[in-house]
Amino acid sequence: MMSRNLIFFVLASLLLSAAACGKGEAPKEPAPQGGGEFVPGQTDKPASAVVAGDDAFKGAGVALPRSGEVAGYTLTEGPEYFTKDKLFEVMDGASDGYIAYGFLELAKAVYKPAEGKLAEDVNVEIFKFDKKLGALGKFAEERSGCLKTDTLPANMCLRASDVLAWRGDFLLKVQTFDDSPAAEAAITELAQAIEKKLAGDAALPEALGKLPTAHRVQGSEGYKIRDSYGFTGLKELFTASYKPSEDYKEDAEAITLFAVDKGSAAEASKLLGEIKATLEKDASVTEKGGLKALEGVGDQAFAYTDALATHTFGIKGGVVFGGRDFKKDEDAKQLTQTLASGL
């Protein structure tokens, strides 16, 4: 009885103290106010839709078409601009991925297609990066399932309802909610018109030229700015995909070869040492026989197999190189040898 009274006493003290200090108070539900509810057909049109004047086409938005500039497309919203500190307002968590690649500015606009062209509006986004590698890297990261690769240039990827392209420091996205067969041609036409206006060129960086050309998947070149394949410090890689035989028929089965210039043999050796140390502690690797030296490949190289495939690493001078997802040991040796020879 006494202890119960004591608890009540102390609890009462708590409540009084909390009230006095203004701390620990239960937050109150805001008083109900009218409005702010979604009603189909009434509230589902953004009130902020603004079409800006010609002087609003600047920075990343310079290449955005004015109303009617591309036949059949009327500007209905924008351009709107978002800098690094505001990008999260457009894409929340995805913004960090762009910022990592050196994102500077996004220009966005919405176009209404003429009747018969597309059933839905088209959203156009142009991202400006601090350098060309940023645009290429983000393009390569997002590229997948590209259609018509034999007729479209390698810096452009057409999917069912969107086009992704890069040129100079810019990444272009043209998206519609219409996935009818007619949409492909319509968005390709619009994307090509915008892509031509982007400053700069779409020539691949020289470093990618050092990767083997035989068996390379057309338009598979990329640049990875962040830590890759689970290894800290393995970043700023130039990459390309390879299909050396029928064993690698599907895109998802392709081998990736990569190289990164660390600036000195000492730095390259240090990174390779760290990668080795990580792998030697990895049970999924040790269970499959651990690291196996690849004799005569670069200055030093090895292969290892994990639960999924065989992978390689090596160094030559200041360059760290390797390959991912080999299905056969002989492919690993041969392609890594070819890669090392070209460096």
């Binding site: 609890l11 805001p30 307002e89 968590g93 997002e142």
Partner: protein, 333 residues
């Protein structure tokens, strides 16, 4: 006894440990009171912390566990309404979770200006089906809302959720500024943050997430990450330690029921997507009460090892179980 989610003392099940109570009350009397309040909470079965490791304040909307029913149901089906209805039946029926008169808040993912085929938002037919179930169980009001990342009007319209939920009888609230209030969470990272109140001031809260790729969270976003939609303010400030913030939110929000939509899955370029080519039809639905176990299934759906996902590592054994052998799982796939 209070209804789940009702605020009596500041927070239900608040785990005020010795370190935390010092943060809550600086003054001597307050500190003594807080210590005793923390101890008293241990005597209150309803308010008892689930696990001593789960620091921080808790909003508990859950219903008591019943060993007669599974904690998680994994089910295959292409019809959203039928599949959800069957899954909820297997969980013991909607009346196990919703009582007549309950005010229910449903939290789908309505973050993105995308259509259902982009699989960036929760399937609108699933949301409508859940509204219908709750109303049939006697809910006095069902609110459907989310703090969208993109323009809310566009996201609500193009996701199809605005219209579907409205037509099913829900109040569909837009994330107006005055609906956010700064609230203490006292989590590991989230100490105090603007919180979207319609999702907090309810008797029951249902988390209806979509399972998809996310470029920041080791590749997965599903139920635990879906609680980011209760946050206002500059959410990007939390991205440096996103796993801890996700853990804090899932600790804070203990839902009545969790639904993970994996009918169509965004497998690349998440969370916003934008290309139909980045989606795959999986026709899977997972319903349950263990949000950690459900997210672990989500990781598997995306071919990820759940033990490598940071927020699941933090939550495993604390808020739920990654190891599905420790969960009453009914797999009807």
């Amino acid at each position: 006894m209070s209804k789940a989610g009702e605020v009596q003392s500041p927070y239900k099940g608040a785990d005020i440990n010795r370190r935390d109570f010092l943060k809550v009350g600086a003054g001597g009397v307050l500190a003594a009171g807080a210590l005793t309040a923390g101890a008293a909470a241990l005597y209150d079965r309803e308010n008892r912390p689930r696990d001593a490791e789960a620091r921080g304040l808790v909003r508990d909307y859950s219903v008591p566990d019943d060993p007669a029913y599974p904690q998680v149901v994994k089910i295959q089906g292409s019809d959203p309404e039928q599949t959800l209805t069957r899954a909820v039946e297997l969980m013991g029926g909607i009346r196990r979770f919703i009582e007549p008169g309950d005010r229910v808040a449903i939290k789908p993912n309505i973050g993105w200006d995308r259509v259902p085929k982009h699989a960036a938002n929760t399937n609108p037919l699933l949301v409508a089906a859940m509204v219908d179930l709750c109303l049939k169980a006697g809910a006095s009001e069902v609110i459907v809302t989310d703090a969208s990342c993109n323009d809310a009007n566009r996201a609500y319209k193009n996701s199809g959720i605005g219209e579907a939920a409205y037509n099913a009888g829900a109040r569909v609230l837009l994330p107006r500024k005055d609906r956010f209030t700064e609230m203490p969470l006292e989590g590991r990272l989230l100490k105090k943050w603007p919180i979207y109140t319609p999702l907090v001031f309810a008797d029951k809260v249902i988390n209806m997430a979509i399972c998809k790729h996310h470029n920041l969270t080791n590749g997965l976003t599903a139920c635990m990450k879906n609680w980011y939609g209760i946050l206002g303010g500059q959410r990007n400030l939390l991205h440096q330690d996103i796993h801890t913030s996700i853990f804090d939110l899932a600790n804070f929000m203990r839902p009545t029921l969790v639904v993970m939509d994996a009918l169509r899955v965004l497998v690349r370029n998440g969370p916003q997507g934008g290309s139909f080519a980045d989606t795959e039809v999986r026709n899977l639905l997972v319903v349950g009460t263990d949000q950690v176990a459900i997210d672990a299934i989500g990781a598997d759906i995306l071919h990820l090892d759940p033990r490598t996902v940071g927020f699941l590592k933090l939550a495993d054994g604390v808020l739920g179980h990654v190891d599905l052998s420790r969960v009453r799982l009914k797999d009807v796939t």
